[in-house]
Amino acid sequence: MNAPAAIPVPVPLASLPRHKPGSVAMVDWSKLSEPEGRRLRELGLDEGVEVELLHKSGLLGGGPIACRIGRMIVALRRHVASAIHVSPAA
């Protein structure tokens, strides 16, 4: 496999720059509880889906974030967002 050198390193959704869409590279399901994982799948999260960090609420990095999953806007807590690893669009 001669992977092109330009492949961006996946970053957790919560640390993605705002309004820079990327695609989900990997979801660390083990960091999520069973209901959390299920609900996240139901909201359309899946590897390869386009996501975008929209807003972060709360001071000092506390409150939930708003992100776009496909076409849907979803509010998530930070620990959930940090389990979602995103490859920023090249």
């Binding site: 409150g63 496909g70 979803v74 509010a75």
Partner: protein
């Protein structure tokens, strides 16, 4: 086999099922721009183009047939006929949001696998247009293999076509699907859904930035919470400020009615009963209609715009610190109107203990039935001064009482979560709807419904309570020199209650008002009015007299203690009944009554004694 076919409206939350249900059946189910508005099944009737009747069901929205909260379980149970005494649906109308196809189609595919006759309502095509999204309904019909009809539920567009197609599939009857059969792997379905969504999207222009722009402000780390707090403050302040004039009109109307009746009837028992008892008592409550409507208008507008989910998001941190989730903010906010629908709305909370805690603290949110009591006491005993330009002391005290209820609720939640409702939490994960302008018609309809409920309550429960109270305070007649309000039957009962509540500063008037307040909190105002009426039958009736008498007979510490009691005490039979139903037994309602009464007693007592110590 003559029964009308049963058809269920199913789909993701906030797809517009209830709006469609209302458009099709003429019902007035609650519609709101956030997921989780409908939490129960509702039935209605509609006629197909050929005249056949259909029984239509509106159901809670759900993301899959694998429920994660009690409201979603309702939908699953209806679809699988698990609800006792209920027949299986003969067909379904799947409502999908055209602006959110990728996701909504996944659930559609899952539903299609059930093999029931089905029609897809491609709803909110107007929103899709606004977003610059053009969809091909016919292509979608080909891809899915079931009829697809484009609709705009709120403008009643596409209804005839929908009914027509529904009639066709119902006639054709069950048809088990050939091919792959039931595919339950959600990931596989999701990928298929995305393929279809792409295939039916004709064109898409990026034009939907409104929601982002608004969110950038209202979710801003600093501005967001300030805006939320300001909104709440304005809401409670305007309840006081805007209602004054219309309350004056109602008062005038009541005075006229009272004079007219008094003039038309001869002196005697009947006249006294009608004028002093019924009209004065019910009138004392009815004047508060404008305040209640203003409060509801605020809540309805917030619900219709889509701000509710943002507020929930902003509150999540705080809620998490007391062991709840931001989601609980929505039922709690609607408890400001009334705790009963608030408690129903907790069905959207996934974790059982989380939900139970929310139910137990919901009565601490200041419901609209408390407004009359707060208003009259504040209006009589708190001076009318302005703190800052535009912010009156009276409005501020009212706001403080609301805050106190909220703080009390949070403290209670914290304690409960570490003791009786220990356990897991639900986390916070919510779909955020796009903002919509509230439809004036929906808001007015909602207000009209509220007004109806309130007036009906005034005409039944409250009228009955004040009638009984008047009789009990009028008989037996007190001999000269004795106070009627103490000598009468009610007076003697109140004297018994007074023994218990004297230590927390309550007087005889309050003791007499506590029992009718159990039937309806507002009746406390009527009760106090009645006391003054029977003691001074010559005086004019109405709010002005109540105010005068309050000023004469109550001290400030007593008034503050009384307000405090109303912040905490669980004086509402409907709330207790709905808690029993939602928790399946008497254990939790009993617990609720116990802890809230204890809290009310202690809070009122502390307030009274501190106020006395401070020399107020």
């Amino acid at each position: 086999m003559n029964a009308a076919p049963l058809v269920a409206l199913v789909g993701n939350p906030n797809a517009g099922k209830s709006a469609l249900f209302n458009a099709l059946t003429g019902a007035r189910q609650k519609v709101g721009n956030y997921p989780g508005v409908t939490v129960e099944r509702h039935a209605g009737r509609l006629a197909l183009p050929d005249g056949r009747p259909v029984e239509l069901l509106d159901l809670p929205g759900t993301y899959s047939l694998d429920p994660s909260s009690p409201d979603e379980a309702v939908t699953r149970d209806v679809l699988f006929g698990k609800q006792e005494g209920e027949r299986l649906p003969d067909g379904i109308v799947v409502v999908v949001d055209a602006t959110n196809l990728d996701n909504h189609l996944r659930f559609t595919l899952q539903l299609a696998a059930l093999g029931l006759p089905m029609v897809v309502a491609l709803n909110m095509v107007d929103m899709a247009e606004r977003d610059g999204l053009v969809l091909d309904a016919e292509a979608l019909e080909r891809e899915l293999g079931v009829p697809v009809v484009a609709t705009v539920a709120v403008r009643k567009r596409g209804l005839d076509a929908l009914k027509e197609r529904l009639g066709e599939v119902l006639k054709a009857g069950h048809k088990l699907r050939e091919g792959a059969g039931a595919q339950h792997d959600i990931v596989v379905l999701q990928r298929r859904a995305r393929q279809i969504a792409t295939a039916v999207t004709v064109s898409e222009t990026a034009a939907r930035r409104w929601t982002h722009r608004i969110d950038a402000i209202v979710l801003h780390p600093v501005a967001g919470p300030i805006i939320l707090l300001a909104l709440m403050f304005i809401m409670f302040q305007s309840v006081f400020a805007w209602a004054e004039a219309p309350m004056g009109w109602i008062e005038g109307g009541m005075a006229w009615l009272s004079d007219t009746v008094a003039g038309a009837l001869p002196d005697g028992f009947i006249r006294d009963f009608l004028v002093q008892g019924l009209i004065a008592g019910v009138g004392a409550v009815v004047v508060f209609l404008p305040q209640i409507l203003i409060l509801f208008a605020f809540i309805l507008v917030l619900e219709a715009t889509g701000y509710m989910v943002r507020a929930a998001m902003l509150m999540d941190r705080v809620m998490a610190s007391v062991g709840l989730s931001g989601r609980a903010f929505i039922p709690l906010l609607s408890s400001f109107a009334c705790a009963v629908p608030g408690i129903m709305a907790t069905r959207t909370i996934a974790d059982e203990k989380d939900r139970l805690t929310t139910i137990l603290i919901a009565p601490l949110m200041t419901c609209s039935a408390r407004l009359p009591v707060y208003t009259i006491i504040i209006g009589s005993l708190i001076p009318e001064r302005s703190l800052l330009p535009g912010i009156g002391l009276q409005g501020f005290v009212l706001f403080a009482l609301y805050i106190l209820g909220i703080v009390g609720a949070f403290c209670a939640a914290l304690v409960l979560r570490h003791t009786v409702t220990k356990g897991a939490t639900s986390g916070f994960m919510m779909e955020m709807p796009k903002y919509q302008l509230p439809r004036i018609r929906d808001v007015l309809l909602g207000l009209w419904q509220r007004a109806e409920i309130f007036l009906k309550r005034a005409g039944t429960t409250i009228a009955a309570t004040v009638a009984i109270l008047w009789l009990l305070t009028t008989f037996p007649q007190a001999p000269a020199g004795q106070k009627q309000s103490e000598y009468s039957v009610a007076g003697r009962i109140a004297s018994g209650i007074e023994v218990v509540v004297k230590p927390i500063g309550f007087n005889h008037d309050i003791s007499l008002a506590l029992l009718p307040a159990m039937a309806a909190r507002e009746a406390a105002v009527a009760a106090i009015g009645t006391v003054y009426a029977v003691d001074n039958p010559e005086d004019a009736q109405g709010e002005a007299t109540i105010t005068e008498n309050l000023r004469k007979r109550w001290t400030l510490p007593t008034a503050l203690a009384f307000l405090m009691w109303f912040v905490f005490a669980p004086q509402c039979i409907s709330t207790i009944a709905v808690t029993r139903r939602e928790t399946n037994g008497w254990k939790w309602p009993m617990f609720m009554i116990g802890y809230l009464f204890a809290l009310a007693y202690v809070a009122a007592g502390l307030t009274y004694w501190s106020a006395v110590a401070l020399g107020l």
